[in-house]
């Protein structure tokens, strides 16, 4: 409690004025605090000025009026205990006297405050709350153990700030003081041991922490030795925590007993293997995260979309993982994600941030080697003694997926994890090496069986890994490395451990080679292979056993005439047949019923129930509605279905179904695409999400199909009002995805003008795909002023040749039109005071058109056109504009662009002549210029600029140019 002195003031500086919570000017009023303060008001108004006895009577009389009044008084007195230390003793006594529910209301409120408001609780109230806990424990109030556990949850791992240490000390003090009471609850024993074993790791360094650590060690050792079997219920993570403290002498001794003398600890305890083979219960893994951490992690894994997690991760990291002390928290978080966060199939098949991505983030942001190797151990901990009967695939899935998905972007991560996986086998605990090997082997087998990954060979035998590691993997896991041919990228399959998945299309590369042998030798083998392989989508997946074997891959073995006949037969297998299977009976009935029929809503309810259990039903329905004749024109039934599901909304439902379909069957996705876009334009045309789903998986053949659909008028994927937005979204996508998007866009006849504003978003370094697509399209257009403006608005960068390229092209094709636009832009932008303008452009991130920019682009164009026959710069509008600009230009700019302005010098001379002859002069000027005036100028320039042109691709041509031009300037002077 001595911590109190040091931290008198409230954290945020007062503003709210409540006595319970710290609040600032910004914080909204807290409803709980207001409620509790109202209760205090009631208590004080009832007891004000009364003697103790009278006050007690008054409170009792109020309580007799009913339950709400009882609650008011209990909460009022409780709040007084928290906010008025001087009255706490008296108020607690009153509370004990008047409470008629064994303090239940108070216990609930304490838990509520701990879980939701502890971080904002004022220091006095924290002290008082601990005081109250001690009183509750002393009086042996039923349920105080639960409050005690909630208290322990507030002690953050990896946090040695004064307030957190204060809490750890005070709760430990109560537990030690009231040891007899603690021993009455097995769960409390296990939870307390788990909590303090973990906290010991954080407590070192200062003498204060050293003292605390010794108390924690003594406390844990005594409970472990006296009540080992209560601690045993923790499961294998008890071993993990004991490993981290094994060097502390008391634990060293305990370890010796665990290994050599297990019976000393308990007659039922047979040794460390027994512990390692029991799965850790979720409540222990969860208890080491504070409620705030838990809320935020759960939010990330249930609501945040993959791709949108960056800021959330940064915020979480800043709050909890930014100090060296906090590194130990990573293991808690990883264990929590593997063991506790088990998303539903719906979430798994959605675009929500997957667990492996969070693990990847936690691994890549490790700042110390110790933290990193502990984090890896935490990630693989359930692998080491994995038993498919007792353990869950969900606990081991994040490790394999983070390895799989990191191979492309961060091969080093995959390599270090694979390396760890190999080395942990002999090194975890040599006497149990065989068990660990079996555990890892079981994990890998189970992963393949559950089809988290279809094959491990692409992971284990990947050219991105160095030879030694691959050799080690091959040596340790020959069973999973069997890929004689170079590894094939396997389609990414998220773990949906459902039977329907078991026959998902599979790339079994050995099958082609062995097909003949299999054909002749072993019919069964052929059958099983045939069943697994799917080259056409078969909608009724449940009835896989009855499903005909697809023979398409074997057709090439037949001679031509036979092959043709078989192919004809195959074509004859109509869509109607494919929708004749049992599930589709429900769909057919749905189509045949009238919507006002009571059976109709009954069927919808049934489907909604089935859908909860099996999300694939959604896209099966879409397929049926499209493929079946019975359903012709009834696509809108899907909307009724969507509204009947728990999702309750067409958009969400459609997106989830398309996502599920995308993951299971790309060809079905392509088949459905035209009708989805046609039937549900409001849901689809604005959805970058849906488009990305499609372009992320299609191949070039399917792209071509979709393009044809668009051009034949069967499919509209973009509309004028939303296309720009979608294209902007697509800038973050993979290269092929972006190309697909542009191809699909180009298949529509949307005027390019609509999407030109995207140029403002395109950075030459980050968006090469969009830039080249746009460039190739722009060259087909006649330049409009807006286009020229957008093009000129690109920031000048020596390596960004976009603007020069398109200007040059327009120079050749539309020189007069371009000249007019440039003139107009030069004059418009010249009329603004330049100073403010350039300031503005530097103050906004987006490109703004400035005079300097236009001139720079023109100068680049000029350099590019040197030595060509192009006489763009001799056109009257350009010369006029340059002159106009030069006249109001400051000296620096005149100097900088002197080469450019010098083109107009001649024209200046002629402008002094009367209008008529001036026109004449300009008409003839281009040629005469070439022959007469310019050469003089050109000689100099080509000398300096041919050199500079060559080096144009290298950085800093601007400086070079400036030097050159100043030399020209001084010459002419």
């Amino acid at each position: 409690m001595e911590m109190q002195k040091g931290k008198g003031g409230t954290a945020g500086g007062g503003g709210g004025g409540g006595k319970l919570l710290v609040s600032t000017l910004l914080d909204a009023k807290d409803e709980l605090e207001e409620r509790l303060e109202r209760c205090v008001g009631i208590v004080t108004s009832l007891t004000n000025g009364l003697s103790e006895r009278e006050a007690n009577d008054a409170l009792n009389a109020h309580i007799c009026k009913g339950t709400p009044q009882h609650e008011e008084i209990c909460l009022g007195l409780f709040t007084l205990v928290l906010t008025e230390p001087a009255q706490a003793q008296k108020c607690y006594r009153d509370l004990a006297l008047v409470s008629r529910d064994g303090m239940n209301i108070v216990l609930n409120k304490i838990n509520h405050i701990l879980m939701e408001k502890y971080l904002k609780l004022q220091d006095t109230c924290r002290t008082q709350l601990v005081w109250l806990l001690r009183e509750l424990v002393k009086s042996g109030v039923l349920g105080a153990d639960g409050v005690c556990m909630t208290f322990m949850k507030q002690i953050a791992g990896g946090d040695v700030t004064a307030k957190n240490i204060w809490l750890a000390e005070n709760v430990l003090e109560i537990l030690t003081e009231q040891r007899e009471w603690v021993l009455k609850s097995s769960l409390l024993i296990a939870m307390a041991v788990y909590t303090y074993l973990r906290l010991i790791v954080d407590h070192h360094g200062t003498s204060q922490l050293q003292v605390l650590r010794q108390k924690e060690v003594d406390f844990c050792i005594s409970l472990l030795r006296e009540r080992f079997m209560d601690c045993f219920m923790i499961g294998r993570d008890l071993v993990r925590l004991l490993q981290n403290v094994a060097r502390i002498p008391e634990f060293e001794q305990l370890w010796k007993d665990i290994i050599h003398n297990p019976q000393v600890l308990s007659a039922q305890f047979t040794g460390v293997l027994q512990l390692l083979q029991s799965r850790t219960s979720r409540k222990f893994l969860a208890c080491r995260l504070t409620p705030d951490m838990e809320t935020k992690l759960l939010f990330m894994t249930s609501r945040v979309r993959f791709g949108q997690q960056k800021r959330y991760q940064d915020w979480f990291q800043r709050q909890y993982l930014s100090t060296p002390d906090s590194q130990s928290l990573r293991c808690d978080l990883i264990r929590y994600i593997c063991g506790v966060v088990h998303p539903s199939n719906e979430v798994l098949s959605s675009d929500i941030l997957p667990r492996w991505a969070i693990i990847g983030w936690l691994l890549t942001t490790c700042t110390s080697n110790v933290a990193a190797s502990n984090a890896k151990l935490a990630l693989f901990y359930d692998w080491l003694f994995f038993n498919p009967e007792k353990d869950s695939i969900m606990n081991i899935e994040p490790a394999i997926l983070v390895m799989h998905h990191s191979m492309k972007p961060h091969p080093a991560i995959t390599a270090t994890l694979l390396d760890f996986m190999c080395r942990i086998i002999p090194n975890f605990y040599p006497p149990l090496e065989a068990h660990v090997r079996q555990g890892v082997f079981n994990s890998l087998t189970h992963i393949v069986e559950k089809r988290v990954l279809a094959h491990l060979a692409p992971l284990f035998d990947n050219p991105k890994l160095d030879k030694e590691l691959r050799a080690m993997l091959r040596e340790k896991f020959p069973e999973f490395c069997s890929s004689p041919s170079p590894p094939i990228e396997v389609k990414i399959e998220e773990p949906v451990s459902m039977e329907m998945d078991n026959h998902m299309s599979e790339k079994d590369d050995s099958c082609y080679d062995n097909a003949e042998a299999a054909f002749s030798d072993d019919e069964e083998d052929l059958n099983s292979k045939g069943k697994k392989r799917e080259f056409r989508f078969h909608p009724i997946k449940e009835t896989i056993v009855e499903e005909p074997v697809d023979i398409t891959p074997f057709l090439d073995q037949l001679d031509e005439s036979l092959k043709d006949k078989v192919l004809q037969l195959q074509k004859g297998r109509s869509l109607e047949e494919s929708v004749g299977k049992p599930l589709y009976l429900i769909f057919r009935n749905l189509c045949q019923m009238q919507e006002d029929n009571s059976g109709f809503s009954l069927l919808l309810d049934l489907l909604s129930e089935l859908y909860q259990k099996q999300p694939k039903i959604g896209y099966h329905l879409l397929y049926y509605l499209k493929a079946s004749k019975a359903a012709a024109g009834k696509m809108n039934l899907y909307e009724s279905f969507a509204q009947a599901t728990q999702l309750g909304d067409l958009h969400t439902c459609l997106m989830m179904d398309m996502k599920a379909c995308q993951e299971d069957d790309v060809r079905l996705l392509c088949y459905l695409t035209p009708s989805i876009y046609t039937e549900f334009p409001d849901e689809t045309l604005r959805s970058g999400e849906l488009l990305n789903m499609i372009v992320a998986v299609i191949d070039s053949f399917q792209l071509q199909e979709l393009v044809c659909h668009v051009m034949m008028g069967n499919l509209v994927m973009f509309r004028k009002d939303s296309v720009l937005n979608i294209l902007i979204q697509s800038l973050d996508w993979e290269t092929f995805e972006q190309y697909c998007t542009w191809q699909l866009f180009l298949a529509h006849s949307i005027p390019l003008e609509t999407i030109i504003p995207i140029l403002q978003h395109l950075k030459y370094k980050d968006h090469p795909e969009a830039l080249s697509c746009l460039l190739l399209q722009l060259r087909r257009e006649k330049p409009s002023e807006e286009m020229v403006k957008m093009v000129l608005s690109r920031p000048c960068h020596p390596d960004d040749q976009f603007t020069t390229s398109i200007l040059r092209h327009w120079c050749i094709k539309h020189d007069d039109l371009l000249a007019e636009h440039i003139k107009s832009l030069l004059i418009k932008n010249n009329s603004l005071p330049r100073k403010r303008q350039s300031l503005r452009s530097s103050s906004s991130k987006l490109a703004q058109l400035t005079l300097e920019q236009i001139l720079e682009h023109l100068d680049n164009l000029r350099l590019n056109l040197t030595n060509t026959k192009q006489n763009f710069f001799s056109q009257t509008p350009i010369l006029q504009a340059l002159q106009h600009v030069q006249a109001s230009c400051d000296e620096a700019h005149k100097m900088k662009f002197s080469d450019l302005f010098s083109l107009a010098e001649e024209y200046e001379d002629s402008s002094t002549k009367p209008p008529k002859s001036r026109r004449k002069a300009t008409l003839s000027s281009p040629r005469s210029r070439k022959n007469a005036a310019q050469p003089a100028n050109n000689e100099e320039e080509s000398a300096s600029s041919s050199a500079s042109e060559e080096e144009d691709t290298k950085p800093k041509p601007a400086k070079r140019k400036r030097k050159g031009s100043s030399a020209v300037g001084s010459d002419s002077d």
């Binding site: 945020g12 600032t24 000017l25 910004l26 914080d27 909204a28 009023k29 809320t295 935020k296 939010f299 609501r303 945040v304 979309r305 949108q308 800021r311 959330y312 940064d314 915020w315 979480f316 937005n725 902007i728 979204q729 403002q760 300031l839 503005r840 530097s842 103050s843 906004s844 987006l846 703004q848």
Partner: protein, 149 residues
Amino acid sequence: PAGTMSTETLVKDVKPGLKNLNLIFIVLETGGCHGGGGPGSPRPPDPLPPPGRVTKTKDGHEVRTCKVADKTGSINISVWDDVGNLIQPGDIIRLTKGYASVFKGCLTLYTGRGGDLQKIGEFCMVYSEVPNFSEPNPEYVAQQSQSKG
């Protein structure tokens, strides 16, 4: 409280000139400042932002531009003085009686007279950063110069 029951406007529906706006958003960035100036106030002399995050107006107010977002998109809000120091990225904030106007070609939110910014949570809100409705919009500039002229 009765007042908070009114429905909130979404960021995508914020248009220049709208008043009495109630919004709930999450704070993405508290950097990127400009000089003061709602539509009525005089333009500060040189709006080049200092390296820090805060700009002082002539009359000594601190102005801070924060990027905020809801599920429909992001927008800038101009926050004045003390409240600006308290706002942190990740805060979920309710704006009451705000208004929107165009500042230097960018749609910007302001707290109106009698309006308020209140932190009601943190972190747990989904948002979409695009479209950014505060990107400079030439139409607004045109409209503004028209209405001035």
